[in-house]
Point group: C4
Chain length 255, copies 4
C-alpha cells in the first residue's frame, strides 16, 4: 500500500460537478450530512482512498467483517440539478502532514472532474447547548460571501474565528492555490454530542445553494434529531436532579 492509495472503482463522466466534503469532526455534523445526501440521492461510490496516515486499525462491520479506515467519494448525475461528488469517510488523518497530503489528493480528484466549486461541511463547537440553529460560513474567494448570505449563512467578524482544522479548512486554503472556489459551512453545535439537528441546519443551506430541496427528504435526519433531543432531555433531567448539590460544589470551587 502506498502512502495514500486511490482506488478508482468506476469511471464516470461528470459535468463540472460540485464537490461536497463531510468527513468526521465536531458533532459529526459534516459526516451526517454527507451520509444523508448519499443515501437520499442514491449516489454511486466511485473512489476509495486508503492511507497509512489513518489510524492503524480496522473497523468492524455489523456482519462480522472488517474494513480498513478509508475515505469514499460518491458521484451523482443530474442534468437538471447539476452533478455532485460527495466525500465521506471513516476518519481524518492522524498525522500532521497526512492532513495536507490527503487534502491535496482530494483536490487532484476534484480537478480531474473539473469541479466548479467545493463545499466543506462541519460543526462549530460552542461548549453549550445551541439555542438557535446557525450555520457559519467561510470562503476562499471574497465574492462568495454575499451569495452565501443569501442562502442564510452567517458571517461573523469574530467567528468561526481562529481556525478551521482538517480537510474542511485545508480544502479551502489549498483549493485557493489551484483556483477552485470553495465554501466551508459550519453548523453551531455543543461539541459534546453527535448533532443531527445541526446537520439538518447545514443541509438546509446546502439544499438551497445546490437547489436540491426537491430530491432530498429530511425525515431521516429529523428522526435522528428527535431521538437525540430525547437523550439530551434525559441528560438535562439528570443534571437538574443534581443541581442543588452541584451549586454548592461550584461555590466551593469559586470561593
Amino acid at each position: 500500500m502506498e502512502e495514500i492509495e486511490v482506488h478508482e472503482l468506476k469511471k464516470v463522466e461528470l459535468n463540472k460537478p460540485v464537490m461536497v466534503e463531510g468527513l468526521p469532526g465536531v458533532g459529526n455534523v459534516g459526516k451526517l450530512v454527507a451520509e444523508h445526501m448519499i443515501q437520499e440521492l442514491n449516489a454511486e461510490k466511485i473512489v476509495e482512498i486508503y492511507s497509512r496516515h489513518f489510524p492503524p486499525q480496522v473497523l468492524v462491520n455489523g456482519d462480522g467483517t472488517v474494513r480498513l479506515c478509508k475515505i469514499e467519494i460518491y458521484a451523482w448525475k443530474s442534468k437538471e440539478l447539476g452533478d455532485l461528488l460527495i466525500v465521506n469517510g471513516d476518519q481524518q488523518s492522524v498525522t500532521n502532514e497526512g492532513h495536507y497530503l490527503i487534502s491535496e489528493r482530494l483536490l487532484d480528484i476534484a480537478q480531474q472532474h473539473d469541479v466548479s466549486r467545493i463545499y466543506t461541511l462541519g460543526g462549530y463547537g460552542i461548549g453549550q447547548l445551541v439555542e438557535k440553529q446557525t450555520v457559519l460560513g467561510s470562503v476562499n474567494e471574497v465574492g462568495l460571501v454575499d451569495e452565501m448570505k443569501g442562502y442564510g449563512v452567517e458571517f461573523r467578524d469574530e467567528e468561526p474565528g481562529g481556525s478551521i482544522v482538517g480537510a474542511s479548512g485545508l480544502l479551502l486554503g489549498l483549493g485557493k492555490m489551484r483556483g477552485i472556489p470553495a465554501v466551508c459551512l459550519l453548523g453551531l453545535t455543543s461539541g459534546y454530542l453527535v448533532d443531527p439537528k445541526s446537520a439538518q441546519a447545514v443541509l438546509k443551506i446546502l439544499c438551497r445553494a445546490l437547489n436540491l430541496k426537491s430530491v432530498i427528504d429530511m425525515q431521516d435526519l429529523k428522526d435522528r434529531a428527535e431521538e437525540m433531543e430525547k437523550v439530551i432531555e434525559r441528560l438535562k433531567e439528570m443534571e437538574e436532579a443534581q443541581v442543588p448539590r452541584r451549586r454548592e460544589e461550584e461555590l466551593g470551587y469559586i470561593r
Copy 2:
C-alpha cells in the same frame, strides 16, 4: 539497518501454510498463545524482523545479554495436520505508519509462502473480570463467519465493535486487498492483567479450527492460568478488606 529489515534465517518449503499471528497486546492474550504453540510444536525460527518503528531500546535477557526488539516467524511442518507459520514478537510498532508498513511486510512473507489463511489473535478488554470465557471473531470474508461459529467463536453485532488496533486488525484489512482470507480471534479479558485463561480459550478455538488438539498440550497455560487465579484471588481479598472504607470514600466523592 533499513526501515524494516527482514532476516531470513532459514529457507523452508511449506505447503499452503496457515499463518498465526500473536503479537503483544491487550492481556497479552495473542502473544501467550503464539508462544505456547511455538513451544509445544517445537516450531523452528525462520525469520527475524527488525525496524526503527519499534521502541528505541534493547531488552535484557536473563543471561546478561541484550536483544533488539524484533518480530519472529516460526515454521512447523506436518503432512497430516498442515503447515504453520507462527508470528511472535517483543513489540508492535510505536509509530502510526510503522503499523501499516510492518503488517504489509508480514503479508509479503505470507504471500511468499502461499499462505492459505491467517489467524490473528488478541484480547478484548472489557474493564472487569470475565465471568465466562468467550472468544469474539471478526473476518475479512463474510463466508468465514459460519465456519468460525462452528468452532465456538461468537460474533456480536455490537462487539468487538469499534475497531481492532494494530497488526491483528491490519492483517485482516490489508490481507483482504491481497485476497488472503483472515480471521481475528479476540479472547475476552479484563484488560488489567496478563491473561493465560483467556489465552487458553483462544487456543482451544484455534486447535479446533486447525485440528491441533492431538499435538498441543494445554497444561502449561493451565498452570499459568491457575497462578494468575491465585493472584486475582489475593487482589480480591485485599479489595474486600478495604470495601467498608472505600464505600465511605466513594460517598464522599459523590456527595
Copy 3:
C-alpha cells in the same frame, strides 16, 4: 504542495540587507515587533512560505475568507539606512524536523539576498510580571557581544541560559554554519500575556542597532502597551481582592 513551498511574489534587488525575524512565540514579542516594523516602514511583501509542517488548518480573516498558515517575508529599501528583509508569520513548525527545515529555507533566502546580518526576536518568559524592561542577547559570533552591549542589550551568564527554541534559536545556530552573523534579542516578559511593552523594549534596541529611530514611530505599540497595562491592572485588582482567602489556601497547601 511541496514539503516546504516558497512563493516568490516579487523580485527585488537588495544591497546586503539585514534580516529581522519575528515569528510567533513567548508573549508574541517577536511577532509584534516584526508586524510593527512592516506597518511603519510600509515594507513590501516579496515571499510567502507554505509547509505541511505548519498546523493542518486555515485561519479565518475578518472578511470571511480564510488563509493557509504561512510565513511572509517583506522587503524595505533605503539607501541611507540600509535595506531590510522582515520575516513574519502565522505559526512556527509543529514538527521537530520542520523547525530545522524551515529555518534552513529562511537561510537559503537570506543567502540569495546576500544578507549581512540576522536579528531574531522573541520573548523570554520569567513567570512573573516584569519590573524593569530588559532585552537579553545571544549571538553566533563572540565579536558581536560588545557591539550589542553598546545598544543596551544585556548578556547574562545564567540567562537566557538553557536554550532558545524554534526559528529564533536555529537561525543563529544554523546561520553560523553558513557564516552569517546573527543576534537573538529576547525581551523579558511574564510569558502569560501578549506583551507590547516588551516588544517596545526590543524594538528600541533594534532601532538603535539599525539606526531606524527616525523612520519608526512607536506610538502604536505604546497605545497597545497602555491597553495591556490596564488589563494587567484589572487582573491585579481582582487578584488582590482575593488575596486574603488565597493566602489561607496557600498556607493550607504548604502546611
Copy 4:
C-alpha cells in the same frame, strides 16, 4: 543540513580503539563520566554530529554565544594503554527513528576506526537513594559476562531487566549485528538528581577494564559528589523537619 550530518574536524589514525559512549540520560551518569574522561585525558575532538532529530533549539554558552545541539567524538592515543574514542553530547534524539539512525551513524564511525569494543554508560534509576554504589552490566556477547564480573560489575537476573533505552542500549543491539563486542554499564542512581557518585562508581569499573587508573584522577568527580551529598543532606533535613506534619497528611490520604 542533512538529516544527520557528520563533521569530521580532524583525521586521526587510531589502533583498534575502544569506544566509550556517555550521552545524557538518567542521573546524567554516562555524560558525567565521558566529560570527566575527556577532561582528564585531554582528549582531542575529532567529530561533531548534527541532526534534525535533536530538539529544535540552540543552547546558550556562558559567553553569550549559542550552539546547535550536537554529539561530539573525542580521540585519545596511547601506545601503552590503548587508543580511545569518547562519545559525548548535548542531547539524544527526540524522535523514535532518530535514535536508531544516530546509533547506526555512531557505529559507522566505530567501524571506520576498527573499534575493538564499545562501552556504553548510563544510570539505572531505582526511585530511592542508593545505599551501596553498584554498577549493573549488560553485554551483546555472552562471553563478556565473566570478564565484566571480574571488574566488579554485577549481573542480575532481574535487573537492569526490561529494557535499556536510547543509544546506550541500541549500540549494543545494533553493534551485535555488525559483530562489534559491546558492554553497557549502568550505575545505580536515585533517578532524581545528577549523580556524580554513581558516575564515580562507573568510572572506577571502566578504569579497571581499560587499565586507565594511572592517568585518570577522580578528585574532580569526588568534589562534585561531595557537593551533591551536601545538597542531598539539606534536602533530607528539610524533609525530616516536615515529617510530623507529612505523616498526618499521609494518614489523611490513606484513611
